[in-house]
């Protein structure tokens, strides 16, 4: 028999208090109950990144996040990153650079890139950084490594890298 627990979440600025089956992933909550289908279900195992959202400002795989474990969290999805009706610069850049083909991975790519740029801003190194103790400097190689949690099966990687590189410069 299903078990239930209550959770309060802020999603894209709106507060929700919900009683949920404890098995509900953050991804299923967003898509099936809150009417926010932007985050996509690809692999449902944390391997493809199509479900990437920001949790308290950090990028995360919504498919592996149990909703009940995120009581009090602030979630931002692709639906919440445009401001006052204007596309976010990353959204603009993806359009400008044709950084997709089918578009299924795109919301996850953009949310992941948003979180990744914040990590660089905070001075985090990556595995390809020459010196992990030094301030990071973003180039195409760094972007590829830092975005490796987002798969694009259409292979739009060159244009995704170009779009992110433009916004970061």
């Amino acid at each position: 028999m299903a078990e239930y627990d209550t959770v309060t979440l802020n999603v894209n600025g709106d507060e929700y208090s919900l009683e949920l089956d404890t098995r509900t992933s953050l991804l299923d909550l967003l898509r099936e109950q809150l009417g926010l289908p932007g985050a996509k279900k690809g692999c449902d195992h944390g391997q493809c990144g199509a479900c990437t959202v920001l949790v308290d400002g950090r990028r995360a795989n919504a498919c592996l996040a149990l909703a009940v474990a995120h009581d009090g969290a602030e979630i931002v999805t692709i639906e919440g990153i445009a401001q006052n009706g204007a596309l976010h610069p990353l959204q603009e850049a993806f359009v400008e650079h044709d950084a997709f083909q089918c578009g299924y991975c795109t919301p996850g790519q953009i949310c992941s890139a948003l979180g990744m740029l914040g990590e660089v801003e905070a001075g985090w190194a990556s595995y390809v950084s020459h010196d992990v103790a030094a301030e990071p400097s973003l180039d195409a190689n760094e972007i590829r490594e830092r975005m490796s949690g987002n798969i694009c099966r259409c292979g739009a990687y060159p244009n995704i890298v170009a779009a992110i590189e433009e916004v970061s410069s």
Binding site: A60, L64, G115, A125, Y127, A133
Partner: protein, 307 residues
């Protein structure tokens, strides 16, 4: 996924008591491995005790010049910490070599140590596996094992431990701090993970109701001269075929001291004592490093596809 109850622990002893009271209970950290295993049907707890809000989320300098790392510290915060990056760079590199940015933001230090093997048979509940279902056999021995163990395996299990982080911790003589019903105890990291023997269902020396609360690193001056290198089947976001954490103290062209641990070779992070012994006092030249690796791998017993 089977239904389960969810509780948020108020403190460490409460978390341990909750586990002790419920046979089918498990601790929930970042969930990046456990939730996946629950979805696959490999794990089916009755109760999840969430330990992510316990006060184990700090990294502190210790009096002897080492580091005390709370078990709840997220992998990304561990890799980003100033002292880790400057004093133990191989640890920062090892963490950054694992998983993806999204997963590192969720995964915890304790959870990283306790992640399960990615052996395909273990993760597939339609297949026999001595680790998942003791006594059913090990199809990996004759089957798909090109990424699996070449050292320390048994007729019952050829799985590898998948962590990168733990390899660097093994090289640096880390100690694991554990809270159980009887109080705290500590285990050297190299003894925390087990070899499979005839009980591959047990990955570690941890009892079911014991909680990892911290990992400490002793001071090691030449750890600032350390690197982590990983070979894998694609450039990023993949488990190791083999990896190495190494710290080197060289003076006048001679190896004064060295720490080496390998990942991807065994059921536990593999501290390379034989290689270290071969290198101490040896000339710091490629030949000596090659000889040291050969000395370590004398004990290797590769299977058909991983030699």
């Amino acid at each position: 996924m089977r239904p389960f109850r969810y509780e948020r622990a108020e403190d460490g002893s409460g978390a341990v008591a909750a586990l002790a009271a419920t046979p089918g209970a498990k601790f929930l950290g970042g969930g990046t491995n456990l939730v996946d295993l629950m979805r696959l049907g490999v794990e089916s707890p009755d109760l999840l005790v969430d330990v992510t809000r316990l006060p184990y989320d700090r990294i502190d300098a210790t009096a002897d010049g080492g580091l005390h790392i709370g078990a709840g510290v997220r992998n990304s915060d561990l890799a980003a910490h100033r002292h880790v990056r400057t004093r133990y760079p191989a640890l920062a590199e090892a963490v950054l070599a694992g998983a993806s940015g999204q997963l590192r933001n969720a995964a915890t230090t304790g959870g990283n140590l306790l992640q399960r093997t990615r052996c395909a048979y273990f993760q597939d509940v339609t297949k026999p596996c001595n680790k998942r279902d003791p006594g059913t056999g090990c199809p990996a021995r004759e089957g798909e094992h090109r990424n699996l163990a070449i050292i320390g395996h048994s007729e019952h299990c050829v799985a590898t431990h998948p962590s990168d982080m733990a390899v660097a911790l093994a090289a640096f003589d880390a100690v694991v701090y554990i809270l159980g019903p009887a109080g705290e105890r500590e285990i050297p990291l190299v003894d925390f993970h087990r070899l499979p023997g005839d009980a591959p269902q047990r990955d570690t020396a941890l009892e079911r109701d014991e909680l990892v609360v911290a990992v400490t690193l002793p001071a090691l001056g030449f750890a600032s001269n350390s690197r982590y290198r990983k070979v894998r089947e694609r450039a990023s976001f993949s488990f190791a075929l083999v990896s190495v954490a190494a710290a080197l103290d060289v003076a006048d062209g001679e190896v004064r001291d060295v720490r080496i641990a390998f990942g991807g070779l065994a059921h536990k992070p593999w501290r390379a004592h034989a290689a270290e012994a071969a290198l101490r006092g040896a000339p710091a030249r490629a030949e000596a490093f090659g000889d040291a690796v050969d000395a370590e791998l004398e004990q290797a017993e590769p299977r058909r596809d991983n030699g």
